[in-house]
């Protein structure tokens, strides 16, 4: 037998675990203003996450899916995207969403049990959070198809988790995108765990990036705790997509430094010591060390940033808590452009029996 095709998977890391460059860095990584902005959103995301978990623990928020540990992936992706691009998130990519203009209050409102949180005032064309696993991937391919049809230089970005790559919809969307060279990038956030199932039990595949090969598109791995590396890889993938050269799969290797959701208890299934080891590689510290090595960050700036983020989060909590419950009409009013007769009747009944009458 002869070999008819061969493939390889490349891995990118630009800042090592200690925050030192592994080689030449892109221009944006030497610009303090850009570094500060990425670090600001990563920090905001981390502190927001902590606050959201606390709110849930004290009964002031519903079940919440935390993102601690994913900040470099989220912000690297967000920073590489353009405003006119479209994001198809899963349900914990707050870093990318904050970068793109989703507000802290919107995220609180959503996890506080209210659809109004998905009516983003900022990125109007971004998709809402997507709970059924992998079902967002075909949406990104469809949006990319629309860009291609209209000749617009825009891209769609779909997130997916490591567990999500087991779903058919992930492959189906990659396959379509490859067949039509669509401007879309699929970002796998490989955080090691799909609730309680580690990646090694999820699949025999050596990498998740290689799943792209079956769809005939490139797959690349990146250190997902290295915001410089993620942004660089994403910029290349998006440039390629925008140039009409087709989709890419980016596998960001990171770690879920939290439970799956606030309803989960990872101590039931995660081996002892793994979490503590992962904290040694966490993304905020890495970027901070790098900025300190450039002499563009210090303890004073850190303290000021944290104070500013905390004030923003506290203001968002107030806005969230001041947001009155929606009327029962809102269950009906967005089902169709024009409400059918039987729903007009049911809306009337719901008004009469509204809990607490609004």
């Amino acid at each position: 037998m002869k070999t008819v095709a061969e493939f390889n998977i490349r891995y990118q890391q630009l800042l090592d675990d200690a925050g030192q460059p592994t080689g030449p860095l892109p221009d944006f990584a030497r610009d303090p203003a850009q570094l500060h902005e990425m670090y600001r959103v990563m920090t905001l995301c981390r502190l927001f996450d902590t606050k959201a978990i606390n709110l849930q623990r004290t009964g002031k928020l519903g079940t919440y899916a935390p993102c601690t540990g994913h900040e470099a992936t989220h912000v690297g992706v967000g920073a590489a995207m353009q405003d006119a691009d479209v994001l198809c998130p899963v349900y914990r990519e707050y870093g990318t969403q904050l970068w793109r203009g989703v507000t802290l209050a919107e995220i609180f409102i959503y996890w506080g049990g209210d659809e109004r949180g998905t009516n983003f005032a900022g990125p109007r064309e971004d998709f809402p959070w997507c709970v059924p696993i992998a079902s967002q991937c075909p949406h990104a391919a469809g949006a990319a198809m629309a860009f291609k049809l209209r000749g617009e230089p825009r891209c769609a970005v779909a997130y997916i988790g490591d567990g999500g790559t087991s779903q058919g919809a992930f492959y189906e969307a990659m396959n379509l995108a490859g067949a039509h060279a669509l401007p879309v990038v699929f970002v796998i956030v490989n955080n090691g765990w799909a609730i309680s199932i580690p990646v090694g039990e999820q699949t025999a595949a050596q990498t998740l990036a290689q799943k792209a090969i079956a769809a005939g598109i490139p797959g690349v791995q990146v250190d997902g705790n290295d915001v410089i590396g993620v942004r660089e890889v994403m910029q290349a993938a998006l440039a390629r997509a925008r140039a009409g050269e087709g989709p890419t799969v980016v596998e960001a290797l990171t770690y879920r430094l939290s439970d799956h959701t606030t309803a989960d208890d990872a101590t039931r299934y995660r081996p002892a010591g793994e979490l503590e080891a992962a904290w040694q590689r966490e993304p905020l510290l890495r970027l901070r060390r790098y900025m300190e090595s450039l002499d563009c960050w210090d303890e004073g700036r850190e303290r000021a940033l944290r104070e500013d983020c905390t004030a923003q989060i506290d203001a968002a909590v107030l806005a969230y808590q001041a947001n009155p419950k929606a009327s029962t009409d809102s269950m009906f009013d967005h089902l169709f452009a024009t409400l059918p007769a039987h729903l007009v009747e049911q809306r009337e009944t719901a008004r009469r029996y509204a809990v607490g009458h609004g």
Binding site: T118, P138, H139, G142, A146, G168, H334, F336
Partner: protein, 325 residues
Amino acid sequence: MAKVTLVEAINLALNWELGHDPDVVLLGEDIGKNGGVFRATVGLQERYGTLRVQDTPLAEGMIAGMAVGMAAQGLKPVAEIQFMGFIYPAIDQIANHMARMRNRTRGRITLPIVMRMPHGGGIHAPEHHSESLETLLCHHAGLRVVCPSTPARAYGLMLAAIRDPDPVMFLEPTRLYRMAKQEVLDDGLALPLDVCHPLREGEDVTVVTWGAMTHDVLRAAEQLSLEKIGCDVLDLATLSPIDHGSILDSVARTGRLVIVHEAARNCGLGAEIAATVAERGLYDLHAPIRRITGYDTVMPYFRLEHDYIPSVERIADGIRETVRA
């Protein structure tokens, strides 16, 4: 005015909308060069190109999900599922996204999608090619479900479905595709959605049906007219939301109700219609409501399919018993 079959009428409607609305895009398996397995899209890719009439990879869930993405970007996808028996992989996208997106984004993202699919049996097809699964779709808030019964209605309802700002599931009865020709004016005029179409007036019994069964019901009604039984036949046409008002008006005149559908009885649409008339029109009734439906069995392979689908004889017997009760 040309005489056309139902499948040709659908082709005319698709052609009209492709020609008049640049946002309309057709997608599905084998719909391009092959023109669809029933030829509903024949000639359209030649005329409008491979981007506006797209052959997709073979993945129904992906087709529905792709339509969601395209519609969210302002296109009006008209997607074909090759047979309704293959709708199941697409249900995740239809139920979890298509039906809900307007609601869950408070109107920020709306999805003007048409999902076309051949519906029902009677054409000697392989297994899984003859299903009547409208109940699966009607149960979901946020979807319209439409099922035409003639070429002219297929043309007008298809135009209405594509122009509707919300997702419409468009069920095309396979045994009507080529059953009869009718004069259809290709004038781009849509028919209204959400209303019944009266097919025949009568004073003794209301018979509600849709899709291919309308023809069997009309044959039964013709036979019964010789026995001086007058059937008021309503073609439901939009299966969700149901035009309960027209049904109740008719029942108020006739005092009797028979519902005929090909789908299985258990949790079928007939139950919803019967329940509504029982709730609101009970005192108009002179006899118990009757359902004449497919059996609660698996849709049989084709040698038994005409034993499953309610026959003219079974329909006539049921109506007669209801009138004489």
